[in-house]
Amino acid sequence: MSEPLATLASMREALDAGAASSVDLVEGCLARARAAQDALHAFAGLREEGARAEAAAADARRASGARRSPLDGLPVAIKDNMVQTGEPTTCASRILEGFVSPYAATVVERLERAGAIPIGRTNMDEFAMGSSTEHSVYGAARNPWDRARTPGGSSGGSAAAVAAGLVPGALGSDTGGSIRQPASLSGVVGLKPTYGRVSRWGLVAFASSLDQIGVMAHTAADCAWLLEAIAGHDPRDSTSLPEPVPRYGETLDGDVSGLVLGLPREYFVEEGVDPEVLSTVRAAVSELERAGAKLREVSLPHTRYAVATYYLIATAEASSNLARYDGVRYGHRAAGVRDLTEMYHRTRSEGFGAEVKRRIVLGTYVLSAGYYDAYYRKAQQVRTLLRRDFEEAFRGCDAIATPTTPETAFRIGSKTADPLTMYLSDVYTVSANLAGIPGISVPCGFAQGLPVGLQLLGRVLDEATLLRIADAFQARTDHHARRPAEAP
């Protein structure tokens, strides 16, 4: 049982070699997911029948030589905030209790077109609001490296499922770090693409100008395949970029010589960061230098304002995006209400959890009469300055390296009482969302036995460089191949 966890690549090899069928792979994932559910709460729901039928169909395609893509027949998991036709989507919220979508997200359609098989919906913080996957109607997800700890969030279910080997790859969404932070805390690779690279059609909105769907897997190469399958222009999303999608997999040549890596001075300060995390990230950067990358210090002077800017913009947009959950057309409606006003108030108060309500109230407040300019408009202006910081920095480097998180996985329950402390754990990740640039977190070592992530940030639409650096790093290291002791 000590062989490395299966990757999408190793599963495809098994299919190609005839060593396994797609049905075998899917059954294996379903069995592991079921077995681990009580311990990890990685899933919000499994899609057993549909997945089995699709696996059988994929095997038939393969037998007739009509493979749809390199992902054909491979199992994946999808965060519970992307809709699938005829399947529930709840965003881990009581307010979407019982909701079954009559339509599919673009990413779901594209995975299907590629032949990938969604085996279930992964657990998350309610409406993606959180950094620990504790705010969920399905119970707190747990970190496979230490079940007393969180896998991070909000895509904690996807991270835990991949880290524990329940499924080789998963989709997540990242509004302020919700892919990269759990990837870092759970020891997997997580990529947030450029804003607009992946269609948001069918992604349940949290903060529309920041939300982006991305991918999680053990290796950069697996992420490249997944991204290639889901990326690209979608006329149903007005913020989708009409740019061609590179063949990401083909640019992974292990060569980073000559690439300039920027090290932002503001991210490598001792204050507020676990020293062992920092030294592990520094060591990873040195490894890349040995691989031929050049290092250069850069400056992102507005970094210290990023979290405040992020929380103002994200909560304002969320307060509006979550107004549709009103008990009229779908989802939870409070019982025994006498009039409309009571229906609204009780439905929403019963349906939303404490963190979501907190953010709705904050967001409503910052948009309300008299406060808009002081808070919302001000935050949008600082957002402009943060974008300019990156534009300036990328004049002197090809990618930026930072820690993904200031510390390793924290204990469940340790931050829920103090929202601000929880928010500050996003300090290294939110800037990429505010600037719209891509970011990836790669496992780069361990601190006190827990995974540490290296974050790489890239130029707009330059996911290829991030994948290439991450792949080169993984080719020289084996952090990603270690498996958690507690994995089932």
Binding site: L203, S238, L322, A323, R329, L340, S368
Partner: protein, 490 residues
């Protein structure tokens, strides 16, 4: 109007919501329909399902630009869609996508006739504040005959239908002017074919802001808002009632409270719906799902080039090209379809004057009686021209021709065949006519004497007698000739 002092000035501004004539909704591909059962014209976007996103309808944008150009407004190359946040069961997203700080157009004006509209009547320009695009809400059905007790039904067929909101400056000074403004605006929207502007179907809805002030005062008084004035009649009556109510409040030394009101036509009274204690807090912000709408100058110019000739321009051209009076030209150009009909008929017939007369007098009367517009009448310009020519050529009489108009309007037909089949050909046979003329002259000896004594107008009386005896079918020119010949030749 009794309560209104002569030194009191009425200030009215109108907000019109006009439904655009698109096939699909503003941000959703669902069809725009009318009269479908509830929720039969909806898409996940109209239901605000989790995960849906808006994509803007290009034709709606073209229509907005066209409207702004037709009303002399400035089209902005950059405009922004914002969210107007409020809760209501027929507002599925919990916000309406509208334009707020940066609308697609500002400024411009609409010309309205003032006075009685006769002769060379004066016109007045009413300024426009802005024109913006927004989506309609769904429909809440409160009628307890349908819903039962304690329930409201929600139908989202209308949710997302594209609207243009056209806001006037507070420059209207009477209910009659408000009504004239609405008629002029509706005529423009129909001219440029951006809206059917059918009030009964809710394509053209009006809210009015009303306040009173002393003449000479430049500040506005406290205004109230009248909602949902859905016919021209209703607009005038409601404004009249509200003006009287405000005047009475002010007369009694009171102050007008800012409020939203509805009009009760049965009692001819306005009723307060809600008092606006402080401004509504709609928490507008730019919609992050829609980036700014950016237009190129070429796009705007393309729309301008396709703009049809508008009523005022057409009216002037009709006067100079056809020598029509202002009054006639205005009537003919009140609707684009009527103007087009006239031009086509005049071209076929060759003479604008008789065509004008027949159209404005006889055809319009038939249309009125049948409750039709020219575009849904069966008469063609060629048929009208042919009918007039039959009269010109003396092949039928004006009276017979007039009698055919209602049928032509209702069912259409070939005037020549109709005249023939119904025996309405004018009697021109000299032998027949001479016999009738002789009969009349001998029966009316007294009139013959008066004519010969110099009362030449008696000829008309004698002609009438001949026409009567021929059942109106005598060729009038021939009769006149015969009568004159016999009377003058003794």
């Amino acid at each position: 109007m009794s309560a209104l002092h002569s030194d009191t000035e009425v200030v009215i501004g109108l907000e019109v919501h006009a439904q655009l004539r698109t096939e699909s909704k503003l941000f959703s591909p669902a069809p725009v329909t009318y009269g479908e059962p509830p929720n039969h014209s909806v898409h996940p976007i109209c239901l605000a399902l989790p995960g849906v996103l808006p994509v803007l309808n290009e034709r709606a944008v073209t229509f907005a630009i066209r409207t702004a150009l037709a009303t002399h407004g400035a089209v902005h190359v950059r405009s922004v869609f914002a969210r107007k946040n409020y809760f209501y069961p027929d507002l599925p997203k919990g916000y309406q996508i509208s334009q707020y700080e940066d609308p697609i157009a500002t400024g411009g004006w609409i010309e309205i006739p003032v006075g009685d509209g006769e002769g060379d009547a004066a016109t007045r320009r009413i300024g426009l504040t802005r024109i913006h695009m927004e989506e309609d809400a769904g429909k809440s059905i409160h009628d307890s005959d349908i819903t039962g007790r304690d329930a409201t039904h929600v139908d989202l067929n209308r949710s997302g239908v594209p609207l243009l909101e056209i806001v006037s400056e507070p420059e209207l000074r009477s209910p009659a002017e408000a009504s004239a403004y609405l008629r002029a605006l509706r005529s423009i929207l129909r001219y440029i074919e951006v809206s059917d502007a059918d009030m009964e179907k809710g394509h053209f809805r009006c809210d009015a802001n009303v306040s009173l002030r002393r003449r000479g005062e430049t500040r506005l008084g406290t205004r109230t808002e009248l909602k949902n004035l859905n016919s021209f009649r209703f607009v005038e009556d409601a404004l009249d009632a509200e003006i009287q109510r405000q005047a009475a409040v002010l007369d009694a030394g009171g102050t007008v409270q800012q409020a939203t009101l509805a009009y009760d036509p049965d009692q001819h009274r306005t009723r307060v719906l809600r008092i606006k204690e402080n401004a509504d807090d709609y928490r507008y912000f730019p919609d992050p799902d829609l980036v700014p709408l950016v237009l190129s100058d070429e796009q705007i110019e393309r729309v301008r080039a396709e703009l049809p000739e508008l009523a005022d321009r057409k009216c002037e051209r009709f006067r100079s090209q056809f020598g029509l009076s202002l009054y006639d030209a205005r009537l003919l150009t009140a609707s684009r379809q009527l103007a087009d009909f006239f031009e086509a008929a005049a071209a076929i017939h060759g003479q604008p004057k008789p065509v004008t007369n027949w159209l404005l007098r006889d055809v319009l009367q038939a249309l009125r009686e049948q409750g039709r517009e020219i575009e849904d009448a069966a008469i063609t310009p060629a048929a009208l021209a042919a009918l007039i020519r039959l009269v010109d050529e003396g092949r039928t009489t004006a009276g017979s021709a007039r009698g055919l108009i209602p049928e032509l309007v209702e069912r259409g037909g070939d005037p020549e065949a109709m005249v023939r089949e119904r025996g309405l050909e004018a009697v021109s046979d000299a032998g027949v006519l001479e016999g009738v003329v002789d009969e009349v002259l001998s029966a009316q000896a007294e009139h013959v004497q008066r004519y010969r004594a110099g009362e030449k107008q008696v000829l008309n009386f004698l002609m009438g007698q001949v026409m009567r005896r021929t059942g109106g079918k005598a060729n009038a020119a021939r009769v006149r000739e015969l009568l004159a010949g016999k009377l003058d030749d003794r």
